[in-house]
């Protein structure tokens, strides 16, 4: 395997890690505020459909992105209503949202486009184009001519869509907002001890809705990326379990932003390797592609088993807050 092949795998790692990263950060915001969210998958899927559908009909990928985010936020608000206002079971609400998105996207796509529950193929100008950074070579033949540093720059760093760079920026932004602002401190407190926040005179309900809606925006970005950057259009169930891998990454990262980045890159790497090689030969041993696909889930179970460190979720996570009277 030569250097350029390694770079190509890393390049597709970054591409495949981006939706995971956005969804993982979305989950991080929500769960840090004490709202469990297993509906990341559904929100991504809804965003993927609406971004593709609106980008196709309007011809503008940016309007599509807005529509995707809006769709995701509607579902996020529904999750908020169920788990904050009506103090329902957050897990059951998440399950319902996943099914709602899985069903509605196909039902609407079928009536709208009559193509068996998909959107038409998006033309190049209603997708997010890859950004070529200045001085980067674009053709594979030119890249192969460059030195190692040039290859890294042209192949790995340059040539991604704007959402990839945005996602990488959202990591420090999330860290800064959660750990360096008053809003972030309160938001984390609400996930650990909502009664204390309430006593301090800050609205628990307001903070939790804010967190859930931020989660909706990020899931919307993740879904739009899937349908309008990574692929060209929506197909049925295109999120393909990424919402759950993001959830796995979130636990793997122990609910911390920078670790979330590394966990998502790791899981993106598994995906990239699994895509490139069907079965991997390690001497005598053949690693089947299905094992690579299951690896993120297996790793999370190992982490949860306490074999590698200990993953402790926010203390008030999953519990509706009831003011004492």
């Amino acid at each position: 395997m030569d250097f350029l092949t390694v770079l190509q795998i890393l390049d597709s790692t970054v591409r495949l890690a981006t939706p995971l990263l956005l969804a993982c950060l979305a989950g991080l915001w929500s769960e840090r505020a004490g709202i469990f969210d297993i509906g990341l998958e559904g929100k991504m899927l809804a965003a993927a459909f609406f971004s593709a559908a609106i980008a196709f009909t309007s011809g503008s990928v940016w309007i599509g992105l807005m529509a995707g985010i809006a769709a995701s936020m509607v579902l996020a608000a529904l999750h908020g209503a169920a788990s904050i206002t009506f103090r329902g079971n957050q897990l059951i609400s998440g399950v319902a949202i996943n099914f709602l998105a899985a069903g509605l996207t196909v039902v609407i796509a079928q009536t709208w486009f009559q193509q068996g529950g998909r959107t038409p193929q998006l033309p190049a100008d209603s997708r997010f184009a890859n950004i070529e950074l200045p001085g980067a070579a674009t053709r594979i033949r030119d890249i192969a001519q460059q030195g190692p540093l040039g290859q890294i720059y042209s192949e790995l760093i340059s040539g991604h869509s704007i959402i990839v760079y945005a996602a990488l920026l959202i990591v420090p932004l999330t860290w800064w907002a959660l750990y360096r602002t008053r809003f972030g401190l309160r938001l984390r407190a609400v996930g650990e001890n909502p009664a204390a926040v309430d006593t301090a005179g800050v609205s628990v309900v307001g903070l939790r809705y804010a967190a859930v809606l931020i989660c909706g925006v990020l899931c919307g970005l993740a879904g739009a990326y899937l349908a309008t950057a990574l692929n060209a259009g929506f197909v049925k169930d295109m999120s393909a379990g990424r919402g759950f891998i993001a959830l796995a990454a979130l636990i793997f990262a122990k609910w911390r932003p920078w670790y979330a980045l590394s966990a998502c890159l790791l899981f993106g790497f598994f995906d990239a390797v699994g895509n490139r090689f069907q079965n991997i030969q390690l001497g005598e041993l053949v690693v089947p592609v299905q094992f690579m696909q299951a690896l993120p889930y297996i790793l999370v179970v190992i982490v949860l088993a306490g074999l590698v460190g200990k993953a402790i979720p926010p203390r008030a996570g999953g519990e509706p807050y009831v003011k004492e009277r």
Partner: protein, 372 residues
């Protein structure tokens, strides 16, 4: 004192929730420009209008009874087993292993073996998440989700690399021997009009027996009492000398076993071989069924029947009204979970205040009359 009479809690609230879910589904159908009434009529006729329809409705209902009971048993201990999908898939693996490798003389003995193996395999798949919950406190919802994906990858691997028939491209096992085929409804209930092709088979009775078994277990045994006590209050249960690890493990093993036994209906009764993705979401439907059925076997049967009818009626809908995609069933399922599960309080809170004010008025009336 209870805020509401018991019948309101058990019957009225689930009924209102389901009606709400159906109304919203009807709105969705109306929004995509079709008549909800006609869709309803097509679905009801498709599900109950013929022996053919009944055969499929009851066949699907059999699956949902098993997975619904699995979720319901876990609910009683306040455990949310979202892993029915994976447990059923692995249960199918158990059925295939025992039926392919032993030459069974008669289907009755084979059925006993298949029950044992499907339950054991399903239970084994639930055991690790149960242990992690009991001993490590890691959330059972997360681990069972992860185990669903691991099961799916494992099954694909085994079907492609181990079970696949030499020379065949399809990822499925060889057909089971003729002697282990379960009798289908055409052979034991042909007087009801079932034809030879009906998927409804002997496993339906197994599902009914499982319901009785769960009812006995939960309400008539010491273990069931402990499970319910644990579900009501963990601290009180521990104080009363109930071992939490034991309850979590046993409850989840039973739950996984029930989910695994769903495979008897599909793998042994219908497909007669192990096929890819044979669970088809039944594990998740089980969540809706258990929520709607209030975790009671009778409720589970009724809810499973409703979902069986939705699945069969949904298939008919696709033929008669092609504008409505089959996924409409998934939407209805989602709305039922949403209204009966997550938004339960939305219905409950107004109902509670309604009953409370009714009772106050009645009590006020009684207090006044002797004074007169």
């Amino acid at each position: 004192m209870d805020k509401m009479p018991k019948w309101a809690d058990i019957i009225l609230i689930p009924l209102i929730s389901v009606v709400l879910a159906l109304v919203v589904s009807g709105l969705v159908v109306a929004l995509i420009g079709e008549s909800p009434w006609r869709a309803m009529e097509v679905m009801v006729r498709g599900a109950f209008g013929s022996a053919y329809g009944w055969g499929y409705t009851l066949y699907y209902a059999t699956n949902f009874i098993f997975t619904g009971l699995a979720v319901a048993v876990a609910f009683h201990a306040r455990l949310f087993n979202i892993g029915g999908e994976g447990q059923a898939a692995i249960g199918g693996l158990g059925v295939a292993i025992i039926l392919l490798n032993v030459a069974w003389p008669h289907w009755t003995i084979a059925l006993l073996a298949a029950m044992l193996f499907s339950a054991a395999f399903g239970a084994a798949w639930a055991a690790v998440p149960a242990y992690l919950q009991a001993r490590r406190g890691s959330h059972i919802v997360i681990t069972t989700i992860m185990f669903n994906y691991i099961a799916s990858a494992l099954l694909v691997y085994l079907l492609v690399n181990v079970f696949r028939v030499e020379g065949s491209m399809a990822p499925e096992s060889a057909r089971f021997a003729e002697t282990v085929h379960l009798p289908n409804a055409a052979s034991f209930a042909s007087f009801l009009g079932f034809r030879g092709s009906t998927p409804l088979n002997f496993a339906f009775f197994l599902a009914i027996i499982a319901c009785v078994g769960v009812w006995l277990l939960i309400w008539k045994t010491r273990l069931g009492y402990e499970i319910r006590a644990f579900g009501h209050s963990q601290t009180a249960a521990v104080y009363a000398g109930i071992n939490p690890t034991k309850i979590i493990m046993i409850t989840m093993l039973i739950s996984g076993g029930l989910a695994g036994m769903m495979a008897i209906n599909v793998v042994m009764g219908e497909a007669e071989r192990l096929v890819l993705d044979f669970v088809e979401g039944a594990g998740f439907v089980g969540i809706a069924v258990a929520l709607m059925g209030r975790s009671h076997p009778v409720g589970v049967v009724l809810a499973a029947l409703l979902f069986g009818a939705l699945y069969q009626g949904g298939a008919e809908l696709q033929f008669e009204m092609p504008a409505i995609s089959r996924e409409m069933v998934v939407v209805i399922q989602a709305l039922v979970i949403l209204f009966t599960g997550a938004l339960d309080n939305m219905v409950r809170m107004p109902m509670e205040s309604l009953f409370l004010s009714l009772r106050r008025r009645r009590e006020a009336g009684q207090a006044q009359s002797p004074a007169e």
